[in-house]
Symmetry: C2
Subunit: 303 residues, 2 copies
């Protein structure tokens, strides 16, 4: 076995608050992958380079290897600040932040996030997934939804992000399920009917959410409802409320979901209750395609 | 100084999940008060009696002293389960749970909470405050709002609780302010204008709440808004959404707020934005008056 078989042409990095993922790339293909828990949230500025090198060292040859990284690594508290680009804008532009490195084997490019000034909003990482999706679907006109801790809805037209909106749905789900009084009523398990009923409950009456949340607890105390149904109901209430708020985004639109497969399937089911059809795109493939699009940008003549 | 001066005729106890408060009473007057952190959430069944005795021992004379206790002490995981009374019902009835005690100096009565079967809901503790308020205002017809971790809205008519609804607003505020990504954007300080704007924002568009929450963070990143205004905005968004959901309770009604003075004042301000006037009643006085009403009930002939 020759060690040279895993040398990378370039390296793709998705560096979030709590995780670091890297791929050894040849052209647009990943030939190796490595992950660590050295998320941006754990690191001082001086620690980013060694956290990365530890992970990718086996892939580095003698030539200087380009590295393209997206996510919170470009935040003010990250390795190097990659200032946000204001929308409307293409998701990527050839203006990457370039941290200095002591190891001369790597040439690091950090992708800027997007910001929206009116209706203040920000994203870091999702712009790369959007760019990846658009690389494969250059004529897409419609709405991308990126479900997660902070779900993003983005209006896409003529290759640009026109506007976007973030909902804290995933983070609220985690806090309520694990830290609130509802933690006593919620456990693993699932019930599709409870999810769908809950979605339509808050879609039609989003203002009742804080009361319907407590009713999960009361229902369990009084009627010993099953804990799996309670989990599905909590998820449905929160996603239903989000769909009520995001209606200007998805109503009558082409919708593509990019995110965790299970969570994207829940969003698709919730949208179906409103006769809104959506397609699901793979999150990791979108990230890699976006990082590859960033790499290709650096090879084009700057205008 | 004679130790006999603090002997109590009876003892009032407010025993919640995280706190225990007791008062030495002569008639309807408190002559001494003691508190401890031995909340119901910390105690095994066998530990309640000693937690109480430790606190009230100085007030016990030779005669057997009645003790009236409300709150989570009557939950299934509490000292003794005091099964809920179903509404519509008077807030108190002469059917108290009676834990056995090894110390013969006390005679303990635990007040049952209220439950609502349709639109499942429960309360423990607030029924006593409602009873206390009604003891002083027997002809009150209207709505009581008891702001707190789990804010309660109760329709009162002819001395009975007709229906009630719980909103998890206080608990959501605590979780979001302290545990979510917004914790970076929120600190002490206050801004009335930010609070009022936020109340009217979610009152008119409650479905946008999860997006408006994240916008607090984005606004701070992009515009360095002050952290006190962010706290006021978070509070306003959550209370505004609650008022949107509770509108059937307060619209066109007599409203009395019973709760922490600062929090009640916020609710009053929020209601004022909708031209709904409210009065504020003292929470501790309501609790003591309710426990006294419970004591008086035991002296009446049972029907």
């Amino acid at each position: 076995m020759s060690g040279s078989s895993t040398y990378a042409d370039w390296i793709a990095v998705d560096w979030g608050t709590s995780n670091l993922r890297a791929w050894a790339m040849r052209g647009s293909d990943a030939i190796a992958e490595a992950t660590s828990d050295k998320g941006m949230g754990l690191l001082e500025k001086s620690e980013f380079e060694s956290a990365l090198i530890t992970l990718i060292d086996p892939w580095l040859g003698t030539a200087r290897t380009p590295v393209f990284a997206c996510g919170m690594v470009g935040a003010r508290q990250g390795w190097v600040e990659a200032p946000y680009t204001a929308v409307p804008s293409k998701p990527l532009a050839n203006r990457f932040a370039r941290p200095e490195t002591t190891d001369s084997r790597i040439d690091v490019h950090v992708i800027p996030g997007l910001k929206q000034l009116e209706n203040p909003d920000v994203m870091r990482g999702e712009e790369t997934q959007i760019a990846g999706f658009l690389a494969a679907n250059p004529n897409f006109d419609g709405v991308l939804c990126l479900p997660g801790t902070h779900t993003k809805w983005a209006h896409i037209s003529a290759g640009e992000v026109i506007s976007f909106r973030t909902f804290m749905t995933g983070e609220l789900f985690g806090l309520i399920a694990k830290k609130s009084v509802l933690r006593h009523s919620i456990a693993n398990g699932w019930n599709d009917a409870a999810f769908i009923t809950a979605v339509t409950d808050t879609l039609s009456r989003p203002e009742a959410m804080a009361a319907k949340l407590f009713a999960i607890r009361a229902d369990q105390l009084l009627n010993a409802t099953d804990v799996g149904a309670a989990k599905a109901r909590l998820s449905g209430l929160l996603i239903g409320a989000e769909l009520a708020g995001a209606k200007p985004y998805w109503l009558g639109q082409n919708i593509v979901l990019i995110g965790d497969a299970n969570l994207s399937a829940l969003y698709a089911t919730a949208l179906e209750t409103q006769a809104a059809l959506s397609q699901i795109a793979d999150a990791t493939q979108s990230t890699l395609a976006g990082l590859n699009a960033a790499r290709i940008l650096t090879k084009e003549p700057t205008s």
